[in-house]
């Protein structure tokens, strides 16, 4: 079978020969037609699956591009163009705004962390005198001297008095 015959067979499978009759009784012609049909089915199925795999959003974008290229009534005013631009790039604009918001939120969080340096007005609370615990002397050194400790309590609270006297003399002399 010649190359010309193969082309005719392919045209026959594609339905391009119309009503013209083709001799399929030639050697191997019928098998070739069957093979071509199967091949055509495979290619069509693959293309349909590829088309299904494309997200709808991309299709919409593609259709917008197509309609924009064929649209003779495209917006002509400045405002209309701006609106059209925003409509076409709405997703990107929102992405930019969301990113800026996220960065602002992080910056605010970092700034609020900085507030830990702020000192309180009162580090300790002054309780009423009646509720205060008396002072406790935990360690006392009076080198070269003697010490006497007094604890006095009155309406104003507690007072611990440490009286240091020299050790080298005797009181009253």
């Amino acid at each position: 079978m010649s190359g010309k015959d193969d082309i005719e067979l392919m045209q026959h499978v594609d339905g391009e020969l119309g009503t013209l009759e083709l001799d399929l009784d030639k050697e191997g012609a019928r098998e070739k037609v069957e093979s071509l049909k199967q091949m055509s089915e495979l290619v069509r199925g693959h293309l349909e699956m590829s088309a299904d795999a494309i997200p709808d959003r991309r299709f919409e974008a593609m259709w917008r591009e197509v309609s924009r290229s064929i649209d003779v009534d495209a917006p002509v005013g400045v405002l209309a163009r701006i609106r059209s631009w925003f409509e076409r790039h709405r997703g990107h604009v929102f992405t930019g705004i969301a990113s800026a918001g996220a960065v602002a939120a992080i910056a605010i969080m970092l700034r609020s962390g900085d507030k830990e340096v702020v000192a309180p007005n009162n580090a300790i609370d002054v309780q009423p005198a009646a509720l205060r615990a008396p002072p406790v002397i935990e360690d006392l050194e009076t080198p070269g001297g003697n010490s006497t400790v007094l604890n006095i309590e009155d309406d104003d609270g507690h007072t611990t008095v440490i009286v240091v006297t020299p050790a080298d003399t005797v009181e009253g002399i």
């Binding site: 790039h89 990107h92 604009v93 992405t95 930019g96 705004i97 990113s99 800026a100 960065v103 602002a104 910056a107 605010i108 700034r111 900085d114 507030k115 340096v117 702020v118 000192a119 007005n121 009162n122 580090a123 300790i124 609370d125 002054v126 309780q127 005198a129 205060r132 615990a133 008396p134 002072p135 406790v136 002397i137 935990e138 360690d139 006392l140 050194e141 009076t142 080198p143 070269g144 001297g145 010490s147 007094l150 006095i152 009155d154 104003d156 609270g157 507690h158 007072t159 611990t160 008095v161 440490i162 009286v163 240091v164 006297t165 020299p166 003399t169 005797v170 009181e171 009253g172 002399i173």
Partner: protein, 169 residues
């Protein structure tokens, strides 16, 4: 989206980020200044009143510069009868840092070791009086006083160099 449009979006996004960051970075200056402490300095935890008094025996004249609460405590606890204020300081005490107190005579350092139960402070007071030394660590409640009276002799009419630390808050 064409490459030019992508670059344009990148530039716009970057500009928004930069402007928002700058706007936020400027904000801390609007915080109330009295409550703001520079990050490099340790935060002041406690302030205590420190009074240096010279006590003598006399007619009982009181220095009007001494507040009534402290004067009452001095009169109730010491043998001396006349008290003259030598110096007074409101000491800001960072935690665990010895703070030198300027006195008319002698020297003193006070260390805030810690605060306890948000109502007490543990202080170490090192007092080198005109004559006589003492160093003690005391747990004292906010508002109360610790008074160190260094008698200059053991004579009945001995004068005393007094350091009063208290009214911490």
């Amino acid at each position: 989206m064409s490459r030019t449009t992508g670059k344009l979006f990148g530039a716009i996004t970057f500009a928004i980020l930069a402007v928002s960051s700058l706007a936020i970075a400027d904000k801390p200056e609007e915080l109330p200044k009295p409550r703001r402490v520079p990050a490099q300095q340790p935060a002041i935890a406690v302030t205590c009143d420190v009074f240096e008094v010279w006590a003598t025996h006399g007619k009982g004249a009181a220095d009007p510069a001494i507040n009534k609460v402290l004067l009452k405590r001095l009169e109730n606890s010491l043998k001396q009868t006349e008290f003259k204020l030598q110096s007074s300081t409101k000491a800001a005490l960072p935690a665990k840092k010895a703070e030198s107190i300027k006195l008319a005579k002698g020297t003193a350092t006070i260390t805030l070791i810690e605060t306890v139960n948000k109502s007490q402070v543990r202080l170490t007071v090192d007092f080198n009086a005109a004559k006589g030394n003492s160093k003690q660590t005391t747990l004292v409640s906010a508002g109360d006083y610790v008074i160190v009276s260094a008698n200059q002799s053991n004579a009945p009419n001995a004068e005393a160099h007094v350091l009063a630390v208290g009214s911490c808050k």
